[in-house]
């Protein structure tokens, strides 16, 4: 899984590309956490899922983990553009009440 990030003002946008599962999640976690740590003055984090072709419940744990890390730094987290399959997994979990979709 590839992780790209870009900063624009107070917004840190993290774009995930590839499959999100038990195999790919560890590297994605490290890359995202590094991006969050390198941008302590960001206020909003938008995690873009448009290019995540597959995601199982590993993605829920991944997002909750980043939410906790961001919250401890005073940041809010949003999810953007999940495909229909990822959206179904996220909807079942109720995670949008914690990490809204923009």
């Amino acid at each position: 899984m590839k992780v790209h990030f870009a900063r624009s003002g107070a917004v840190l946008r993290i774009k995930l590309c590839g499959d999100m599962d038990e195999y790919t999640a560890p590297e994605a976690r490290r890359a995202c956490d590094r991006a969050i740590e390198e941008n302590p003055t960001a206020r909003q984090i938008i995690i873009n899922l448009a290019d995540v072709a597959f995601m199982d419940s590993t993605g829920i744990g991944f997002l909750i983990g980043r939410y906790k890390k961001a919250k401890s730094g005073g940041m809010t987290v949003y999810v953007e553009s999940p495909n229909f399959a990822a959206d179904k997994v996220l909807s079942v979990s109720g995670i949008y009440s914690l990490i809204p979709r923009v």
Partner: protein, 146 residues
């Protein structure tokens, strides 16, 4: 009439998860399932295989067996391991239940299998292993014709 049947056996390494779900999806694609049904199947298989990798064989890798059978327009899937087993199945299938909260586990694996598939059952014996049975109806839908 002979029912089409597939049996996969592989080591419980995380790198095999994509192979397992893609193989099951490829097996049933001849029945022309909709994209959403195919996606549901891949997600449920991924959850079942992840459970084997993360929980059943937590201490040491072992073999995972995935069997599929097509009966009329139904896909029956059986995912089995010979790992540690589940102490309390009734508790384990509850949403958000996890024995590994510090590992960023959502505890939603069984809930997703139940929600995404039409039939779902778990048999487990502590110290002997776990078998997950799932069935999905593969009725072709209009979206494939567009």
């Amino acid at each position: 009439m002979v029912k089409n049947y597939l049996k996969l056996q592989f080591y419980s390494l995380p790198c095999n998860q994509a192979f397992a779900r893609d193989a099951v999806a490829a097996f049933c694609v001849d029945l022309n399932p909709s994209l959403s049904v195919l996606s549901d199947i891949k997600t449920a298989v991924s959850e079942a295989v992840t459970n084997c990798t993360v929980h059943a064989y937590r201490d040491a890798p072992g073999m995972i067996t995935v069997e599929c059978e097509i009966e009329d327009a139904s896909l029956h899937i059986k995912v089995s391991d010979t790992g540690r087993g589940i102490d309390d199945v009734e508790k384990a299938v509850q949403p958000f239940f996890t024995t590994l909260p510090d590992d960023e586990r959502s505890g939603m694996g069984f809930t997703i299998m139940q929600t995404f598939m039409d039939e779902f059952k778990v048999d487990s014996v502590r110290g002997e292993g776990t078998v997950v049975y799932m069935t999905k109806q593969l009725n072709p839908e209009v979206e494939n014709v567009r």
